[in-house]
Protein backbone atom coordinates (compact mmCIF):
# COMPACT_ATOMS: atom_id res chain seq x y z
CA UNK A 1 0.00 0.00 0.00
CA UNK A 2 2.67 2.50 1.06
CA UNK A 3 4.93 1.58 -1.84
CA UNK A 4 2.02 2.16 -4.22
CA UNK A 5 1.40 5.56 -2.72
CA UNK A 6 5.04 6.43 -3.24
CA UNK A 7 4.97 5.41 -6.88
CA UNK A 8 1.70 7.00 -7.95
CA UNK A 9 2.69 10.69 -7.95
CA UNK A 10 5.76 9.87 -10.03
CA UNK A 11 3.72 7.86 -12.51
CA UNK A 12 1.23 10.64 -12.76
CA UNK A 13 4.00 13.14 -13.32
CA UNK A 14 5.45 10.92 -16.05
CA UNK A 15 2.18 10.55 -17.92
CA UNK A 16 1.42 14.24 -17.47
CA UNK A 17 4.81 15.31 -18.78
CA UNK A 18 4.39 13.08 -21.83
CA UNK A 19 1.20 14.92 -22.72
CA UNK A 20 2.31 18.38 -21.60
CA UNK A 21 4.88 20.85 -22.86
CA UNK A 22 8.11 19.58 -24.45
CA UNK A 23 10.16 21.74 -22.08
CA UNK A 24 9.58 21.48 -18.37
CA UNK A 25 9.89 24.52 -16.19
CA UNK A 26 12.87 24.48 -13.78
CA UNK A 27 10.48 24.50 -10.82
CA UNK A 28 8.78 21.37 -12.16
CA UNK A 29 12.18 19.70 -12.69
CA UNK A 30 13.04 20.50 -9.08
CA UNK A 31 9.73 19.03 -7.94
CA UNK A 32 10.33 15.80 -9.88
CA UNK A 33 13.90 15.62 -8.58
CA UNK A 34 12.73 16.02 -5.00
CA UNK A 35 10.13 13.30 -5.53
CA UNK A 36 12.76 10.90 -6.91
CA UNK A 37 15.23 11.70 -4.12
CA UNK A 38 12.60 11.02 -1.50
CA UNK A 39 11.72 7.62 -3.00
CA UNK A 40 15.41 6.72 -3.23
CA UNK A 41 16.09 7.74 0.36
CA UNK A 42 13.16 5.63 1.59
CA UNK A 43 14.55 2.61 -0.28
CA UNK A 44 18.02 3.28 1.10
CA UNK A 45 16.67 3.35 4.64
CA UNK A 46 14.77 0.11 4.10
CA UNK A 47 17.96 -1.56 2.91
CA UNK A 48 19.80 -0.01 5.88
CA UNK A 49 17.36 -1.53 8.37
CA UNK A 50 17.98 -5.01 6.91
CA UNK A 51 21.78 -4.57 6.91
CA UNK A 52 21.89 -3.26 10.49
CA UNK A 53 19.68 -6.13 11.63
CA UNK A 54 21.94 -8.73 9.96
CA UNK A 55 25.08 -7.14 11.41
CA UNK A 56 23.62 -7.07 14.92
CA UNK A 57 22.49 -10.67 14.57
CA UNK A 58 26.01 -11.72 13.49
CA UNK A 59 27.89 -9.63 16.05
CA UNK A 60 25.74 -10.02 19.16
CA UNK A 61 26.18 -13.83 19.56
CA UNK A 62 29.87 -13.67 18.62
CA UNK A 63 30.50 -10.95 21.20
CA UNK A 64 28.59 -13.12 23.67
CA UNK A 65 25.94 -10.47 24.29
CA UNK A 66 23.44 -13.24 23.70
CA UNK A 67 23.74 -17.01 23.78
CA UNK A 68 24.59 -18.23 20.23
CA UNK A 69 22.76 -21.49 20.99
CA UNK A 70 19.53 -19.52 21.00
CA UNK A 71 19.90 -17.39 17.86
CA UNK A 72 22.58 -18.88 15.59
CA UNK A 73 24.33 -16.45 13.17
CA UNK A 74 23.44 -15.26 9.67
CA UNK A 75 26.70 -16.76 8.37
CA UNK A 76 25.86 -20.15 9.91
CA UNK A 77 22.32 -19.96 8.56
CA UNK A 78 23.70 -19.14 5.13
CA UNK A 79 25.99 -22.19 5.34
CA UNK A 80 23.11 -24.48 6.30
CA UNK A 81 21.06 -22.94 3.53
CA UNK A 82 23.75 -23.69 0.93
CA UNK A 83 24.23 -27.26 2.18
CA UNK A 84 20.50 -27.95 2.08
CA UNK A 85 20.26 -26.34 -1.32
CA UNK A 86 22.96 -28.66 -2.67
CA UNK A 87 21.57 -31.89 -1.26
CA UNK A 88 18.08 -30.94 -2.52
CA UNK A 89 16.40 -31.20 0.87
CA UNK A 90 15.57 -27.51 0.97
CA UNK A 91 13.81 -27.66 -2.39
CA UNK A 92 11.86 -30.72 -1.23
CA UNK A 93 10.65 -29.16 2.03
CA UNK A 94 9.91 -25.82 0.38
CA UNK A 95 7.94 -27.46 -2.42
CA UNK A 96 5.89 -29.49 0.08
CA UNK A 97 4.93 -26.40 2.07
CA UNK A 98 4.39 -24.24 -1.00
CA UNK A 99 2.11 -26.74 -2.75
CA UNK A 100 0.15 -27.41 0.43
CA UNK A 101 -0.33 -23.67 0.87
CA UNK A 102 -1.49 -23.08 -2.70
CA UNK A 103 -3.89 -26.03 -2.61
CA UNK A 104 -5.25 -25.10 0.82
CA UNK A 105 -5.56 -21.47 -0.18
CA UNK A 106 -7.39 -22.28 -3.40
CA UNK A 107 -9.59 -24.80 -1.57
CA UNK A 108 -10.52 -22.26 1.11
CA UNK A 109 -11.27 -19.67 -1.52
CA UNK A 110 -13.47 -21.94 -3.65
CA UNK A 111 -15.31 -23.43 -0.68
CA UNK A 112 -15.77 -19.97 0.87
CA UNK A 113 -17.09 -18.52 -2.39
CA UNK A 114 -19.58 -21.36 -2.85
CA UNK A 115 -20.82 -20.94 0.74
CA UNK A 116 -21.08 -17.15 0.37
CA UNK A 117 -23.11 -17.60 -2.83
CA UNK A 118 -25.48 -20.03 -1.07
CA UNK A 119 -25.97 -17.56 1.79
CA UNK A 120 -26.60 -14.76 -0.71
CA UNK A 121 -29.07 -16.97 -2.54
CA UNK A 122 -31.10 -17.79 0.55
CA UNK A 123 -31.50 -15.11 3.17
CA UNK A 124 -33.22 -17.69 5.33
CA UNK A 125 -30.13 -19.90 5.26
CA UNK A 126 -28.01 -16.85 6.11
CA UNK A 127 -30.22 -15.98 9.09
CA UNK A 128 -30.01 -19.57 10.33
CA UNK A 129 -26.24 -19.99 9.89
CA UNK A 130 -24.98 -16.48 10.67
CA UNK A 131 -24.26 -16.99 14.41
CA UNK A 132 -22.47 -20.28 13.75
CA UNK A 133 -20.21 -18.77 11.11
CA UNK A 134 -19.35 -15.84 13.35
CA UNK A 135 -18.45 -18.16 16.24
CA UNK A 136 -16.46 -20.52 14.00
CA UNK A 137 -14.58 -17.55 12.56
CA UNK A 138 -13.74 -16.23 16.02
CA UNK A 139 -12.66 -19.64 17.31
CA UNK A 140 -8.90 -20.39 17.21
CA UNK A 141 -8.82 -23.06 14.51
CA UNK A 142 -5.38 -24.10 15.71
CA UNK A 143 -7.15 -25.87 18.56
CA UNK A 144 -8.45 -28.32 15.96
CA UNK A 145 -5.02 -29.48 14.78
CA UNK A 146 -4.85 -32.64 16.95
CA UNK A 147 -8.45 -33.57 16.07
CA UNK A 148 -7.81 -33.15 12.36
CA UNK A 149 -4.70 -35.32 12.71
CA UNK A 150 -6.69 -38.10 14.35
CA UNK A 151 -9.57 -37.85 11.88
CA UNK A 152 -7.78 -37.22 8.62
CA UNK A 153 -4.22 -38.49 8.98
CA UNK A 154 -0.96 -36.71 8.26
CA UNK A 155 -1.56 -35.41 4.72
CA UNK A 156 -5.23 -34.47 4.63
CA UNK A 157 -5.09 -32.83 8.06
CA UNK A 158 -2.67 -30.20 6.74
CA UNK A 159 -4.95 -29.25 3.84
CA UNK A 160 -7.91 -29.29 6.20
CA UNK A 161 -6.08 -26.91 8.53
CA UNK A 162 -5.24 -24.48 5.73
CA UNK A 163 -8.87 -24.49 4.61
CA UNK A 164 -10.28 -24.25 8.14
CA UNK A 165 -8.15 -21.20 8.93
CA UNK A 166 -9.22 -19.28 5.82
CA UNK A 167 -12.73 -20.42 4.91
CA UNK A 168 -14.87 -18.61 7.49
CA UNK A 169 -13.29 -15.22 7.00
CA UNK A 170 -13.68 -15.78 3.23
CA UNK A 171 -17.40 -16.45 3.67
CA UNK A 172 -17.89 -13.39 5.86
CA UNK A 173 -15.88 -11.02 3.66
CA UNK A 174 -17.47 -12.19 0.41
CA UNK A 175 -20.99 -12.19 1.81
CA UNK A 176 -20.51 -8.63 3.04
CA UNK A 177 -19.16 -7.73 -0.40
CA UNK A 178 -22.18 -9.30 -2.12
CA UNK A 179 -24.51 -7.31 0.13
CA UNK A 180 -22.70 -4.08 -0.72
CA UNK A 181 -23.44 -4.37 -4.46
CA UNK A 182 -25.49 -1.34 -5.57
CA UNK A 183 -29.15 -2.50 -5.46
CA UNK A 184 -29.89 -0.32 -8.52
CA UNK A 185 -27.50 -2.48 -10.56
CA UNK A 186 -29.50 -5.54 -9.55
CA UNK A 187 -32.71 -3.67 -10.36
CA UNK A 188 -31.23 -2.80 -13.76
CA UNK A 189 -30.75 -6.42 -14.83
CA UNK A 190 -34.03 -7.54 -13.27
CA UNK A 191 -35.75 -4.94 -15.47
CA UNK A 192 -34.27 -6.84 -18.42
CA UNK A 193 -35.90 -10.00 -17.05
CA UNK A 194 -32.75 -11.46 -15.43
CA UNK A 195 -33.18 -14.57 -13.30
CA UNK A 196 -31.47 -14.86 -9.92
CA UNK A 197 -28.71 -16.89 -11.56
CA UNK A 198 -28.15 -14.08 -14.11
CA UNK A 199 -28.11 -11.49 -11.33
CA UNK A 200 -25.37 -13.58 -9.71
CA UNK A 201 -23.25 -14.09 -12.82
CA UNK A 202 -23.74 -10.70 -14.49
CA UNK A 203 -23.70 -8.39 -11.46
CA UNK A 204 -22.87 -9.89 -8.08
CA UNK A 205 -19.80 -11.98 -8.98
CA UNK A 206 -18.12 -9.56 -11.41
CA UNK A 207 -18.97 -6.64 -9.11
CA UNK A 208 -17.30 -8.46 -6.21
CA UNK A 209 -13.92 -8.89 -7.89
CA UNK A 210 -12.31 -6.16 -5.71
CA UNK A 211 -13.69 -7.88 -2.59
CA UNK A 212 -12.34 -11.21 -3.82
CA UNK A 213 -8.89 -9.71 -4.25
CA UNK A 214 -8.83 -8.31 -0.72
CA UNK A 215 -10.02 -11.71 0.52
CA UNK A 216 -7.17 -13.37 -1.39
CA UNK A 217 -4.72 -11.01 0.29
CA UNK A 218 -5.95 -11.97 3.74
CA UNK A 219 -6.12 -15.68 2.90
CA UNK A 220 -2.68 -16.12 1.47
CA UNK A 221 -1.21 -15.35 4.90
CA UNK A 222 -3.82 -17.39 6.74
CA UNK A 223 -3.36 -20.47 4.55
CA UNK A 224 0.38 -20.40 5.24
CA UNK A 225 -0.33 -20.25 8.98
CA UNK A 226 -2.68 -23.22 8.66
CA UNK A 227 -0.14 -25.28 6.70
CA UNK A 228 2.79 -24.60 9.03
CA UNK A 229 0.74 -25.34 12.14
CA UNK A 230 -0.58 -28.50 10.48
CA UNK A 231 3.00 -29.54 9.70
CA UNK A 232 4.04 -28.96 13.31
CA UNK A 233 1.69 -31.72 14.33
CA UNK A 234 1.58 -34.11 11.46
CA UNK A 235 4.18 -33.80 8.79
CA UNK A 236 7.20 -35.84 7.78
CA UNK A 237 8.28 -33.03 5.44
CA UNK A 238 7.79 -29.33 4.87
CA UNK A 239 9.11 -26.15 6.46
CA UNK A 240 6.88 -26.50 9.53
CA UNK A 241 8.34 -29.98 10.02
CA UNK A 242 11.88 -28.54 9.66
CA UNK A 243 11.16 -25.95 12.35
CA UNK A 244 9.87 -28.51 14.85
CA UNK A 245 12.61 -31.02 14.01
CA UNK A 246 15.36 -28.38 14.18
CA UNK A 247 14.20 -27.11 17.56
CA UNK A 248 13.97 -30.64 18.97
CA UNK A 249 17.61 -31.37 18.09
CA UNK A 250 18.57 -27.77 19.01
CA UNK A 251 19.74 -26.97 15.48
CA UNK A 252 18.88 -23.27 15.30
CA UNK A 253 20.47 -23.03 11.83
CA UNK A 254 17.79 -25.34 10.52
CA UNK A 255 14.98 -23.43 12.27
CA UNK A 256 16.19 -20.06 11.05
CA UNK A 257 16.68 -21.30 7.48
CA UNK A 258 13.11 -22.59 7.41
CA UNK A 259 11.82 -19.28 8.79
CA UNK A 260 13.71 -17.26 6.19
CA UNK A 261 12.31 -19.43 3.40
CA UNK A 262 8.82 -19.03 4.84
CA UNK A 263 9.25 -15.26 4.79
CA UNK A 264 10.32 -15.46 1.15
CA UNK A 265 7.34 -17.66 0.22
CA UNK A 266 4.85 -15.37 1.91
CA UNK A 267 6.29 -12.26 0.25
CA UNK A 268 6.28 -13.96 -3.16
CA UNK A 269 2.64 -14.97 -2.76
CA UNK A 270 1.78 -11.47 -1.58
CA UNK A 271 3.56 -9.86 -4.54
CA UNK A 272 1.73 -12.21 -6.92
CA UNK A 273 -1.63 -11.16 -5.46
CA UNK A 274 -0.65 -7.52 -5.62
CA UNK A 275 0.16 -7.88 -9.32
CA UNK A 276 -3.23 -9.52 -9.83
CA UNK A 277 -4.85 -6.69 -7.90
CA UNK A 278 -3.16 -4.03 -10.01
CA UNK A 279 -4.36 -5.59 -13.27
CA UNK A 280 -7.95 -6.27 -12.17
CA UNK A 281 -8.51 -3.05 -10.29
CA UNK A 282 -7.40 -1.05 -13.28
CA UNK A 283 -10.37 -2.60 -15.03
CA UNK A 284 -12.66 -1.79 -12.13
CA UNK A 285 -11.50 1.80 -12.23
CA UNK A 286 -11.91 4.34 -9.46
CA UNK A 287 -14.80 2.46 -7.85
CA UNK A 288 -12.79 -0.70 -7.36
CA UNK A 289 -9.71 1.13 -6.13
CA UNK A 290 -11.53 2.77 -3.25
CA UNK A 291 -13.19 -0.37 -1.92
Amino acid sequence: MSSEAAVTPLDRAKSASAAALPTRSPAYERYLGALRRRTRSIQAWQLGVVVVFLILWEVAPRANWINPMLTSYPSAVARTFMVMLEDGSLAKHTWVTFSETVVGFAGGMVLGTVCAVLLWWSTFLYRVLDPFIVVLNAMPKIALVPIFYIWLGDVASIYAMAIAVSVFITILMLYTGFQAIDPDKIKLVRLFGASRWKVLTKIVLPGSVPTMISTLKVNVGLALVGVVVGEFQAAKAGLGFLIVYGSQIFQMNLVMTAIVVLAVISSLLFVAIQALEATTLRRHGAVGATS
Binding site: D182, D184, K185, K187, L188, V189, R190, L191, F192, G193, A194, K198, K202, I203, P206, G207, V209, R283, H284, G285, A286, V287, G288
Partner: protein, 267 residues
Protein backbone atom coordinates in the same frame (compact mmCIF):
# COMPACT_ATOMS: atom_id res chain seq x y z
CA UNK B 1 -50.51 16.59 -28.92
CA UNK B 2 -53.25 14.76 -30.75
CA UNK B 3 -55.17 12.07 -28.89
CA UNK B 4 -55.21 8.69 -30.67
CA UNK B 5 -58.51 7.34 -31.99
CA UNK B 6 -61.00 6.42 -29.29
CA UNK B 7 -60.79 2.65 -29.63
CA UNK B 8 -57.01 2.31 -29.14
CA UNK B 9 -55.96 1.75 -25.54
CA UNK B 10 -53.77 4.40 -23.92
CA UNK B 11 -50.01 3.74 -23.90
CA UNK B 12 -50.11 3.41 -20.13
CA UNK B 13 -53.09 3.07 -17.85
CA UNK B 14 -52.57 3.15 -14.12
CA UNK B 15 -55.83 2.06 -12.52
CA UNK B 16 -56.57 2.63 -8.86
CA UNK B 17 -53.10 1.57 -7.70
CA UNK B 18 -52.58 1.24 -3.97
CA UNK B 19 -49.44 0.13 -2.17
CA UNK B 20 -49.03 -0.85 1.45
CA UNK B 21 -45.74 -1.90 2.78
CA UNK B 22 -44.93 -3.47 6.09
CA UNK B 23 -42.02 -3.20 8.47
CA UNK B 24 -41.88 -4.77 11.93
CA UNK B 25 -42.61 -1.32 13.38
CA UNK B 26 -45.51 -0.21 11.26
CA UNK B 27 -47.68 -0.53 8.22
CA UNK B 28 -47.31 2.28 5.69
CA UNK B 29 -49.73 3.32 3.00
CA UNK B 30 -47.35 4.58 0.32
CA UNK B 31 -49.76 5.07 -2.58
CA UNK B 32 -53.52 5.54 -2.33
CA UNK B 33 -55.80 5.01 -5.33
CA UNK B 34 -53.53 6.46 -8.00
CA UNK B 35 -55.05 6.52 -11.47
CA UNK B 36 -53.43 8.01 -14.53
CA UNK B 37 -53.55 7.55 -18.28
CA UNK B 38 -50.71 8.39 -20.62
CA UNK B 39 -51.25 8.74 -24.37
CA UNK B 40 -48.84 7.36 -26.93
CA UNK B 41 -45.97 9.81 -27.48
CA UNK B 42 -46.92 11.87 -24.45
CA UNK B 43 -44.31 13.14 -21.99
CA UNK B 44 -45.63 13.11 -18.42
CA UNK B 45 -43.77 14.49 -15.43
CA UNK B 46 -44.71 13.44 -11.92
CA UNK B 47 -43.59 15.89 -9.25
CA UNK B 48 -43.82 15.54 -5.50
CA UNK B 49 -41.76 16.07 -2.40
CA UNK B 50 -39.33 13.32 -1.45
CA UNK B 51 -40.97 10.25 0.06
CA UNK B 52 -44.32 10.82 -1.66
CA UNK B 53 -44.05 7.47 -3.44
CA UNK B 54 -43.35 8.75 -6.94
CA UNK B 55 -40.36 6.44 -7.46
CA UNK B 56 -42.39 3.58 -6.01
CA UNK B 57 -45.03 4.30 -8.63
CA UNK B 58 -42.38 3.92 -11.36
CA UNK B 59 -41.27 0.58 -9.89
CA UNK B 60 -44.87 -0.59 -10.04
CA UNK B 61 -45.31 0.58 -13.65
CA UNK B 62 -42.09 -1.21 -14.61
CA UNK B 63 -43.51 -4.48 -13.27
CA UNK B 64 -40.76 -4.94 -10.66
CA UNK B 65 -43.05 -4.27 -7.72
CA UNK B 66 -46.55 -5.70 -7.45
CA UNK B 67 -49.14 -3.21 -6.17
CA UNK B 68 -51.30 -4.15 -3.17
CA UNK B 69 -54.35 -3.17 -5.21
CA UNK B 70 -55.12 -1.92 -8.72
CA UNK B 71 -53.63 -2.71 -12.12
CA UNK B 72 -51.15 -1.41 -14.68
CA UNK B 73 -51.86 -1.76 -18.39
CA UNK B 74 -49.30 -1.00 -21.08
CA UNK B 75 -50.77 -0.90 -24.58
CA UNK B 76 -53.84 -2.61 -23.12
CA UNK B 77 -51.87 -5.53 -21.65
CA UNK B 78 -51.75 -6.08 -17.91
CA UNK B 79 -48.25 -5.81 -16.44
CA UNK B 80 -47.17 -8.43 -13.91
CA UNK B 81 -43.42 -8.66 -14.60
CA UNK B 82 -40.76 -6.47 -16.23
CA UNK B 83 -41.22 -6.23 -19.98
CA UNK B 84 -38.77 -5.32 -22.75
CA UNK B 85 -41.32 -2.71 -23.93
CA UNK B 86 -40.36 -0.62 -20.92
CA UNK B 87 -37.04 1.20 -20.51
CA UNK B 88 -35.91 2.56 -17.15
CA UNK B 89 -33.36 5.24 -16.29
CA UNK B 90 -32.01 5.64 -12.80
CA UNK B 91 -30.82 8.63 -10.82
CA UNK B 92 -27.33 7.13 -10.91
CA UNK B 93 -26.09 5.88 -14.27
CA UNK B 94 -25.58 2.34 -12.81
CA UNK B 95 -23.03 1.57 -15.52
CA UNK B 96 -21.15 -1.64 -14.73
CA UNK B 97 -17.61 -0.47 -14.16
CA UNK B 98 -16.05 -3.75 -15.33
CA UNK B 99 -17.66 -3.57 -18.78
CA UNK B 100 -16.73 -1.25 -21.64
CA UNK B 101 -19.25 1.41 -22.60
CA UNK B 102 -20.36 -0.66 -25.60
CA UNK B 103 -20.79 -3.82 -23.49
CA UNK B 104 -22.79 -1.79 -20.98
CA UNK B 105 -25.14 -0.63 -23.72
CA UNK B 106 -25.50 -4.23 -24.90
CA UNK B 107 -26.43 -5.73 -21.53
CA UNK B 108 -30.16 -5.45 -22.24
CA UNK B 109 -29.87 -7.26 -25.57
CA UNK B 110 -27.71 -9.89 -23.89
CA UNK B 111 -30.23 -10.57 -21.12
CA UNK B 112 -33.25 -10.39 -23.41
CA UNK B 113 -31.65 -12.84 -25.87
CA UNK B 114 -31.95 -10.43 -28.78
CA UNK B 115 -29.98 -10.76 -32.01
CA UNK B 116 -26.54 -9.56 -30.88
CA UNK B 117 -25.41 -8.50 -34.36
CA UNK B 118 -28.39 -6.19 -34.78
CA UNK B 119 -28.08 -4.95 -31.21
CA UNK B 120 -24.38 -4.22 -31.63
CA UNK B 121 -24.98 -2.14 -34.74
CA UNK B 122 -27.77 -0.24 -33.01
CA UNK B 123 -25.65 0.31 -29.88
CA UNK B 124 -22.75 1.66 -31.95
CA UNK B 125 -25.09 3.91 -33.88
CA UNK B 126 -26.67 5.27 -30.66
CA UNK B 127 -23.29 5.88 -29.03
CA UNK B 128 -22.04 7.69 -32.11
CA UNK B 129 -25.19 9.83 -32.20
CA UNK B 130 -24.75 10.77 -28.53
CA UNK B 131 -21.14 11.81 -29.07
CA UNK B 132 -19.63 8.71 -27.45
CA UNK B 133 -18.28 7.12 -30.65
CA UNK B 134 -14.67 7.44 -29.51
CA UNK B 135 -15.44 6.05 -26.06
CA UNK B 136 -17.16 2.78 -27.03
CA UNK B 137 -14.26 0.70 -25.81
CA UNK B 138 -13.48 2.89 -22.80
CA UNK B 139 -14.41 1.92 -19.28
CA UNK B 140 -17.10 3.97 -17.51
CA UNK B 141 -14.68 5.57 -15.04
CA UNK B 142 -12.94 7.28 -17.95
CA UNK B 143 -16.14 9.22 -18.78
CA UNK B 144 -17.56 12.42 -17.28
CA UNK B 145 -20.89 12.44 -15.43
CA UNK B 146 -22.84 13.76 -18.43
CA UNK B 147 -21.22 11.24 -20.78
CA UNK B 148 -22.00 8.41 -18.38
CA UNK B 149 -25.66 9.41 -18.23
CA UNK B 150 -25.77 9.56 -22.06
CA UNK B 151 -24.29 6.05 -22.15
CA UNK B 152 -27.04 5.01 -19.72
CA UNK B 153 -29.63 6.50 -22.08
CA UNK B 154 -28.15 4.52 -24.97
CA UNK B 155 -28.36 1.38 -22.82
CA UNK B 156 -32.02 2.10 -22.08
CA UNK B 157 -32.90 2.80 -25.74
CA UNK B 158 -30.86 -0.02 -27.29
CA UNK B 159 -33.60 -2.71 -26.94
CA UNK B 160 -36.09 -0.19 -28.44
CA UNK B 161 -38.63 0.21 -25.63
CA UNK B 162 -41.93 2.04 -26.36
CA UNK B 163 -42.27 3.47 -22.88
CA UNK B 164 -39.51 5.17 -20.92
CA UNK B 165 -39.54 5.58 -17.18
CA UNK B 166 -37.10 8.24 -15.97
CA UNK B 167 -36.44 8.21 -12.23
CA UNK B 168 -34.82 11.60 -11.54
CA UNK B 169 -32.16 10.84 -14.14
CA UNK B 170 -30.53 14.27 -13.92
CA UNK B 171 -30.47 14.91 -10.19
CA UNK B 172 -27.01 13.42 -9.63
CA UNK B 173 -25.45 15.83 -12.15
CA UNK B 174 -24.16 19.35 -11.58
CA UNK B 175 -26.53 22.16 -12.51
CA UNK B 176 -25.08 23.08 -15.91
CA UNK B 177 -24.67 19.50 -17.12
CA UNK B 178 -28.17 18.87 -15.92
CA UNK B 179 -29.73 21.66 -17.99
CA UNK B 180 -27.70 20.79 -21.08
CA UNK B 181 -28.36 17.08 -20.82
CA UNK B 182 -32.09 17.41 -20.14
CA UNK B 183 -32.33 19.58 -23.25
CA UNK B 184 -30.43 17.00 -25.27
CA UNK B 185 -32.41 14.03 -23.97
CA UNK B 186 -35.77 15.78 -24.45
CA UNK B 187 -34.74 16.33 -28.08
CA UNK B 188 -33.77 12.67 -28.53
CA UNK B 189 -36.98 11.38 -26.97
CA UNK B 190 -39.18 13.78 -28.96
CA UNK B 191 -37.47 12.72 -32.20
CA UNK B 192 -38.06 9.03 -31.40
CA UNK B 193 -41.71 9.67 -30.40
CA UNK B 194 -41.31 7.82 -27.11
CA UNK B 195 -43.92 7.78 -24.39
CA UNK B 196 -42.19 9.04 -21.25
CA UNK B 197 -42.97 9.18 -17.55
CA UNK B 198 -40.43 11.36 -15.73
CA UNK B 199 -40.36 11.44 -11.96
CA UNK B 200 -38.65 14.45 -10.42
CA UNK B 201 -38.74 16.84 -7.50
CA UNK B 202 -37.46 19.63 -9.74
CA UNK B 203 -40.49 21.69 -10.79
CA UNK B 204 -38.56 23.60 -13.47
CA UNK B 205 -37.35 20.38 -15.06
CA UNK B 206 -40.90 18.99 -15.09
CA UNK B 207 -42.44 22.10 -16.71
CA UNK B 208 -39.67 22.55 -19.26
CA UNK B 209 -39.75 18.93 -20.46
CA UNK B 210 -43.29 17.60 -20.09
CA UNK B 211 -46.58 17.90 -21.94
CA UNK B 212 -48.41 17.30 -18.69
CA UNK B 213 -47.30 17.69 -15.09
CA UNK B 214 -48.91 15.55 -12.40
CA UNK B 215 -48.57 16.74 -8.81
CA UNK B 216 -48.51 14.14 -6.06
CA UNK B 217 -49.41 14.77 -2.45
CA UNK B 218 -47.25 13.77 0.48
CA UNK B 219 -47.62 10.26 1.87
CA UNK B 220 -49.87 8.51 1.23
CA UNK B 221 -49.17 9.53 -2.37
CA UNK B 222 -52.26 10.56 -4.31
CA UNK B 223 -52.64 12.56 -7.47
CA UNK B 224 -53.41 16.05 -6.32
CA UNK B 225 -53.69 17.86 -9.65
CA UNK B 226 -52.68 17.79 -13.29
CA UNK B 227 -51.44 20.64 -15.45
CA UNK B 228 -51.33 20.57 -19.21
CA UNK B 229 -48.26 22.54 -20.24
CA UNK B 230 -48.29 24.65 -23.39
CA UNK B 231 -46.33 27.66 -24.50
CA UNK B 232 -48.55 29.70 -26.89
CA UNK B 233 -46.01 32.52 -26.79
CA UNK B 234 -43.47 30.24 -28.50
CA UNK B 235 -45.79 29.46 -31.42
CA UNK B 236 -47.45 26.22 -32.42
CA UNK B 237 -44.50 23.87 -31.78
CA UNK B 238 -43.24 22.70 -28.42
CA UNK B 239 -40.07 24.55 -27.32
CA UNK B 240 -37.08 22.55 -26.10
CA UNK B 241 -36.47 22.63 -22.35
CA UNK B 242 -33.94 25.48 -22.44
CA UNK B 243 -36.20 27.67 -24.57
CA UNK B 244 -39.25 26.73 -22.49
CA UNK B 245 -37.53 28.15 -19.41
CA UNK B 246 -37.37 31.50 -21.17
CA UNK B 247 -41.06 31.56 -22.16
CA UNK B 248 -43.51 33.91 -20.43
CA UNK B 249 -45.78 31.05 -19.30
CA UNK B 250 -42.98 29.25 -17.43
CA UNK B 251 -43.09 31.40 -14.29
CA UNK B 252 -46.86 31.07 -14.02
CA UNK B 253 -46.77 27.27 -14.12
CA UNK B 254 -43.88 27.28 -11.68
CA UNK B 255 -45.77 29.39 -9.15
CA UNK B 256 -48.95 27.32 -9.39
CA UNK B 257 -47.17 23.99 -8.93
CA UNK B 258 -44.91 25.36 -6.21
CA UNK B 259 -47.96 26.45 -4.23
CA UNK B 260 -49.57 23.05 -4.65
CA UNK B 261 -46.50 21.16 -3.48
CA UNK B 262 -46.56 22.94 -0.10
CA UNK B 263 -42.83 22.47 0.14
CA UNK B 264 -42.49 24.94 3.00
CA UNK B 265 -44.67 22.73 5.19
CA UNK B 266 -42.45 19.77 4.52
CA UNK B 267 -39.41 21.49 6.05
Amino acid sequence: MLAPSGSAPPAVAIRDVTLHYFTPERETLALANVSLEVERGEFIAVVGSSGCGKSTLLSIVSGLLAPSGGDIFIEGRKITAPSPQVGYMFQKDTLLEWRTVLDNVLIGAELLDLDMGVARRRAQELLRRYGLGEFMHSLPHQLSGGMRQRAALARTLCPEPDLLLLDEPFSALDYQTRLALSDEIAGILAAEHKTVILVTHDIGEAISMADRVVVMSRRPGRIKSEHRISFPSFGSSRPGPLEARKCLEFAGYFQTIWDELDLHQAQ
